[in-house]
């Protein structure tokens, strides 16, 4: 049984349709990366799954139409981390992560010891236990991103929607965060749908990549099938080489338009790649 199915989903804001006729499936424990140029509709597609924008077509969660779920029930099934989350500066890290328990509580209920245990586990998973009492205001960019993920984990949803989760993170922190998400889906069967601007990271972590352009799916499949110089040139208007990493996953490397071959070794190396694998616009 798949965890997420989108059938002919169109979504947008008021009278503006941003994504049209999207049909994709993500199996339990899989990682689906949505890629595409700026303004393609990636974030809107995630919001459609979370029920945050007007939507036609069918979003099916664990075999059940999402439209039939109540607000809190849907929030228990789908965890959503936006691209630019708002972190109320007056809260401590613990207070903030505790807000992830909201879908599990009645409107006026207080959190129980069980909720606090779940928060403690989420903090530990993200190495935030040492910062539990700190104000959000004092956190670095990487710590804030981890706090956001901890809040989503505390929600205990089977489907995680992560909108550009590595924005603002250095490569070490980005890898650490994606490794954690990867472990979650492998160990606990959590399904992940994320947008990612870094195509190499998308290729390394996702089972499936969906390329969206102008609100429509233009390619979908395993990373090696979607991340080709031709498709990226067509839809990103970009010049890239696609290399192969030792583990066999594609590595997308941008290529400058003007290359002075004799300037330095790196330019030489790039120039050497051009004839075979670069599509120049």
């Amino acid at each position: 049984m798949s965890t997420l199915e989108l059938r002919e989903v169109s979504a947008g804001y008021r009278d503006r349709t941003v994504v049209s006729g999207v049909t994709v499936t993500a199996g339990r424990g899989s990682w689906l990366a949505i890629i595409g140029p700026n303004g393609a509709g990636k974030s809107t597609l995630l919001k459609a799954v979370a029920g945050l924008v007007q939507c036609t077509g069918e979003v099916v969660l664990d075999g059940r139409p999402a439209a039939g779920l109540g607000h809190r029930e849907r929030a228990r099934a789908v965890g959503y981390a936006p691209q630019s989350p708002e972190l109320p500066e007056g809260l401590t890290v613990t207070d903030y992560v505790l807000l992830g328990r909201t879908p599990h509580l009645g409107p006026l209920a207080r959190e129980s010891g069980r909720d606090l245990r779940i928060v403690r586990d989420a903090l530990a998973r993200l190495d935030l236990d040492g910062l539990a009492g700190r104000s959000l205001r004092t956190l670095s960019g990487g710590e804030r991103q981890r706090a956001v993920l901890a809040r989503v984990l505390a929600q205990q949803a089977g489907l995680l929607l992560l909108d550009e989760p590595t924005t603002g993170l250095d490569i070490g922190h980005a890898q650490a965060l994606l490794d954690l998400v990867d472990r979650l889906r492998r160990d606990e069967g959590v399904t992940v749908v994320s947008t990612l601007h870094d195509l190499t990271l998308a290729a390394q972590y996702a089972d499936q990549v969906v390329l969206v352009d102008q609100g429509r799916v233009v390619a979908a499949g395993v990373p090696g099938r979607v991340l080709t110089p031709e498709l990226l040139a067509t839809h990103y208007d970009a010049r890239v080489s696609v290399l192969t990493a030792p583990d066999g996953s594609p590595v997308v490397a941008p290529v400058r338009r003007e290359v002075v071959a004799e300037a330095d070794p790196v330019s030489e190396a790039t120039a050497a790649l051009r004839p075979d694998s670069t599509v120049d616009q």
């Binding site: 109540g70 607000h71 109320p88 007056g90 207070d95 998973r125 190495d127 981890r146 650490a176």
Partner: protein, 378 residues
């Protein structure tokens, strides 16, 4: 390690890489089940005990303190006598001063201070704006217009047992908020449009009030005395009118602290957590506006309490609305009782409008709190 062009494995691109560098943050295991639970910010018994002790102390001082010295022990003996049915040490006149003037005045100051500070905290939470106060949506200007109209059109009603002035101020306050709400809703569903609508309504109603005042200059002094606010002529009637609104609003706001923390994430994330932000906002604003309208109707416009008290709590205790909302109720009461003591002291036997005192003492005090909390901002 060589990286090769894809799909043809031909490249002389070389990179240096560590086989498996330790990331900055390795995903950790679940916490040890025996590990202590993290401490969430909550209203504790200590918070409550300190707040109650502070309020009790200030109220006692305010009741004992006055132009006529009743004697602290005699007042305490009077209270004891009332509780036990014993003989009062006070004369009939002294007992009247105590029970018909001082006590209702102090109780009203408590209720109005709590209403304004609690509502201010609620408004700041709903609008996620530290500049918000209970008058943001036009409650003050609406009440001001209602009161001005009554004073200008029917000045003789000031001494009626149930005068139209508080009713007009109450209706004006709620009317101002309702108008802002309607205009804000018609322009969209966001808090920004609501605030802008509040600004527009406030400006408009204030302009109407000023026009009415300028065409009836003979009433100006009375109007301005009301606008500056005060609890000087308060009796039990005012207390009884305000009490139900303040109790209702306090109960709603006390219960909504966690929900206001969720609203702090923004509407989108709040909805992703299963909350309906519009409903929470409507319930909180209705409760806060009712309390504000009732307070304004009885005491006129007392500024600064609703703005400054939530910040004092936030910067000295905690930033979560679970704490800010309930403690603002207590600290607002303490603040206004203290301001009223100052108001009836500095020009004795005359009195200053308490609104002047709250602004005059509140602003520098707030500046001190801001300075004191530097480096440990919450």
């Amino acid at each position: 390690m060589a990286m090769t062009a894809h799909p043809e494995p031909q490249s002389n691109l070389r990179t240096h890489s560590h086989p498996d560098p330790a990331p900055a943050s390795v995903p950790g295991p679940d916490a040890d089940p025996a590990a202590p639970l993290p401490a969430a910010t909550r209203l504790t018994a200590v918070h409550l005990l300190v707040a109650i002790a502070l309020l009790t102390g200030v109220v006692t001082g305010a009741v004992l303190f006055g132009a006529i010295d009743l004697g602290a022990f005699r007042v305490l003996a009077e209270v004891f006598a009332q509780l036990t049915g014993g003989t009062s040490p006070l004369s009939e006149r002294e007992a009247a001063i105590l029970w018909q003037l001082r006590v209702p005045r102090v109780v009203l100051a408590c209720l109005v201070g709590a209403a304004l500070a609690g509502s201010g905290a609620a408004f700041q939470g709903v609008f996620r704006n530290p500049m918000a106060d209970p008058y943001l949506l036009g409650a003050a200007s609406g009440a001001g217009l209602g009161a001005t109209l009554v004073m200008v059109i029917a000045p003789q009603t000031r001494d009626w047992l149930i005068g139209p002035l508080p009713v007009a101020a109450f209706v004006g306050a709620l009317g101002g908020v309702a108008l802002s709400w309607l205009i804000g809703r018609s322009a969209g569903n966001g808090t920004v449009t609501l605030v802008l609508a509040g600004v527009a309504v406030t400006s408009f109603l204030t302009a109407v009030s000023m026009f009415v005042q300028q065409t009836h200059v003979d009433s100006l002094r009375e109007v301005y005395a009301w606008l500056f606010g005060g609890v000087a002529t308060s009796g039990w009637r005012e207390v009884l009118v305000v009490l139900p609104y303040v109790v209702l609003a306090s109960a709603v706001l006390w219960g909504c602290g966690r929900l206001l923390d969720v609203l702090g994430l923004g509407d989108e994330e709040a909805r992703a957590l299963g909350l309906r932000p519009g409903r929470v906002r409507a319930a909180v604003l209705l409760a806060a506006s009712l309390a504000t309208a009732a307070a304004v109707a009885m005491t006129g416009l007392i500024g600064f309490v609703g703005f400054v008290v939530p910040h004092i709590v936030r910067r000295t205790v905690a930033g979560s609305y679970r704490v800010v909302l309930p403690l603002s109720l207590f600290v607002g009461a303490v603040f206004l009782v203290l301001a009223d003591i100052v108001a009836r002291t500095v020009l004795a036997p005359g009195e200053l409008p308490v609104g002047v005192v709250t602004a005059f003492t509140g602003a520098p005090f707030f500046a001190l709190v801001l300075r004191g909390s530097k480096g440990r901002q919450r």
